[in-house]
Point group: C3
């Protein structure tokens, strides 16, 4: 087992936990609903990336280990539930490490398909955030990309750092560690200082137009 594989399994488990905890805030889901959402949160982003790239077989389809990790994570969440809901800071750190690792692993995978760097960055970001987006759609929440302090943008920034260092022929470990740290740092600073991107545009007063559609 490579270090990369272990990191990937860890990210899978953290995402399953975060998905389960979010799902559980909805009106009394049962065990199946919580597990299902944990599963989608965990493997959704990578599946979207692989289906967009045409990379078959999908990693969780080829290797059921991810499934066992997800189930273990749900059981763990159940046992330590009372502790976990109080440890939001810890969960935030796990989530931040998770999106950081998934972004870089996703960017690397996209590069194997010889896509242009900009597309590889988008694929990296998709790997990290699309599981959460699907979780939010399925639980009727406003998707995370509309709510959080700098979130997906941190992934994009990390992917750009990775691609730049890679272009400069840094060795792979340096590229990975540097870009994971960039994503993690942006997330921590954004939440700490409540940084967010500027809003797009303010709508004009409703009296003005809006009617004719």
């Amino acid at each position: 087992m490579s270090v990369q594989y272990i990191l990937e399994l860890m990210g899978t488990g953290f995402f399953a936990m975060s998905g389960a905890l979010v799902a559980n805030q909805k009106s009394k889901p049962d065990w199946f609903g919580v597990t299902f959402i944990g599963f989608i949160t965990s493997i959704g982003g990578g599946s979207i990336r692989d289906m967009l790239l045409g990379s078959y077989p999908l990693s969780w389809v080829a290797d059921a280990t991810r499934m066992y990790v997800i189930i273990a994570a749900i059981v763990f969440t159940s046992i330590f539930f009372n502790h976990l809901v109080r440890q939001r800071k810890l969960l935030f750190i796990f989530d931040s490490l998770g999106i950081a690792m998934f972004t870089i692993l996703g960017t690397e995978k996209a590069l194997l398909f010889h896509v242009q760097p900009f597309i590889a960055a988008i694929m990296g970001m998709f790997s990290a955030i699309m599981g959460g987006v699907m979780r939010d759609v399925l639980t009727n929440e406003i998707p995370v990309i509309f709510r959080k302090e700098i979130y997906a943008t941190a992934c994009l920034a990390g992917a750009v750092v990775y691609l730049t260092l890679n272009y400069l022929h840094c060795n792979r470990e340096v590229c990975m560690i540097a870009s994971v740290l960039v994503i993690f740092a942006i997330r921590v600073l954004a939440v700490r200082y409540k940084l967010s991107l500027p809003h797009f545009k303010r709508e004009p007063l409703p009296a003005a137009t809006q009617q004719d559609e």
Copy 2:
């Protein structure tokens, strides 16, 4: 035409009817909206399974017969609408047979791709429920997996029965009939006696944490 193909077309038709009836409960959809939702409910699960497996061409893309069945089902639903909305028990039986058959056909298809048994069971369940999940997302409902008495779990249980019997070298007809009956029976008993899986965890009082995200 094999018996399997006929069963598949029947399941397709029943799912289209159930999708149309659910869509029609929303605020006055037109004929297109109802047909579209019937279509998605009917072919959504199998499409998701095939895209996850990389099984091309998708069955409804390769064979337009399914489309004609769906359209016939919508017309039928329109003509007999007043009867159908009163026959909820009958529709429940159709839906239960539909998910049972789709689960087993999906599990079998996944096995053709040499996935591990656990993954095959998930693919079977996806075939059965994902059309309904997409229907609920498109009509802004809470997805069925969060609401119903034991539903997706019944599919999983049936898939496990199929895989076990298959592993024991039972012949295919026995495997199929036994597992379809298991799914059907679980559904009927669950609805009859209002059985549901235990809820996951109760959230602590909101005063405790929740703020810092």
Copy 3:
């Protein structure tokens, strides 16, 4: 660069603008959220079509030009925002041309995969509307297919016109122009005269049934 490619890029840009404007009506999205929704609206329909057909690589993955067009469209939307929100008529025309062109390009692409004509028409319609459907799902709106005056149906009608002329061996330019005009005309007339398809069925009074599910 062929005329077709230029038309496709124009459609991509118009869809990104319309997606951005719709996203911006939600509660204060930031730049990332607006760009993300513009992107999904723009490339969502074609991606769904290509993933359903198994047509890899997806066009936006193989060619980052579409990304640059989308970003340019978002910047343009930002600069001319105050003008654009007042020009709903102009945007309506752009959107109508966009869905018309995407329908026909999608139908043609499906034909390359030797699907039956009815399936090709559905693929054409999906190319045109699925980006908007995903935009609506992500922004928690009722999907456009349930709201608008004759919309997806116009796409289907145009696809049928294209397929008929194609079957009669008209040359490609004639097929394309005629069918784009049909879609555009139906949309304009539908909005002008508030035409819509008939509603499906009226639900019986709630007292009657409904309870036992």
